[in-house]
């Protein structure tokens, strides 16, 4: 089956990201395809490129990136929720006259419409909220 996850909890603030990653592992271990993760609400902070957790804690940013590298999982971030919270890729940073950027590939800023499309085009969309 083609799975998608909706992550709405901030990293290191709530269990949501950790649970979503554990679920992702289980989905893949069962031989399913984890096609997409969509980040919305405070979940967008999972994409913060400068995240620097202590070494003895799970590195959530790297774990998301690994999903993309190893399984081709698309990492989509709601642009409206992201911009409000300071998550801008290079293009948006330039457009808003900001120095530096806080989000980079493989994370991708996209419209909320993409979440609706993900819901339609995948077999399952599972939400992880605080």
């Amino acid at each position: 089956m083609r799975y998608a996850l909706l992550v709405q909890g901030g990293p290191y603030s709530h269990q949501a990201s950790h649970s979503a990653l554990r679920f992702a592992e289980a989905v893949l271990a069962r031989g399913h395809h984890l096609a997409t993760v969509f980040f919305y609400h405070d979940g967008v902070y999972n994409a913060a490129r400068l995240s620097a957790p202590p070494q003895d804690e799970p590195h959530l940013l790297d774990a998301w990136r690994r999903l993309h590298e190893d399984h081709g999982t698309e990492l989509l971030v709601c642009i409206a929720a992201g911009l409000r919270r300071g998550l801008l890729d290079e293009r948006e940073a330039a457009r808003h006259g900001k120095q530096g950027h806080s989000l980079e590939a493989p994370f991708e800023l996209t419209g909320l419409g993409q979440l609706i499309e993900v819901g339609r085009s995948h077999d399952r969309l599972v939400t992880f909220s605080p």
């Binding site: 909706l6 609400h41 409206a80 909320l112 419409g113 979440l115 609706i116 499309e117 819901g119 939400t127």
Partner: protein
């Protein structure tokens, strides 16, 4: 109420209009889905019923307010607004206190609403 229409997406709203952005971001998702041609219904549970109170002010708390979004629902053809009857009565709210016209649901009808929609987003 037994005549809950079938729909593509049920957006469940469980938070009031102030204190956090769940309601606003949930309504955003509902409006976008409707703009994409999905048949969208809303289900207000728990604190979510506070979203529907008439005459809400905006500004003092530094938040934009959500009432204008509720008033736009009709334009987006979002006409099925389901409200948990018990959540209203627990808060002493009458249907006349609400700013939009709603259908009251309780018990099995709530489970029915979930079953009648292909997809559910929970805010």
């Amino acid at each position: 109420m037994n005549d809950i229409p079938e729909g593509d997406l049920l957006v469940i709203l469980r938070h009031g209009p102030h204190g956090n952005s769940w309601l606003r971001e949930g309504l955003d998702a509902a409006l976008v889905a409707a703009a994409f041609g999905q048949r969208v219904s809303l289900l207000f549970l728990g604190e979510g019923v506070m979203a529907l109170l008439k005459d809400q002010q905006e500004g003092p708390l530094g938040q934009k307010g959500t009432q204008p979004m509720l008033e736009m629902l009709g334009m987006y053809d979002i006409e099925t607004l389901l409200v948990d009857r018990r959540a209203l009565s627990e808060r002493g709210i009458e249907v006349d206190d609400l700013c939009v016209s709603v259908s009251l649901v309780e018990g099995e009808a709530i489970a029915g609403a979930l079953a009648h929609h292909r997809q559910i987003l929970n805010f």
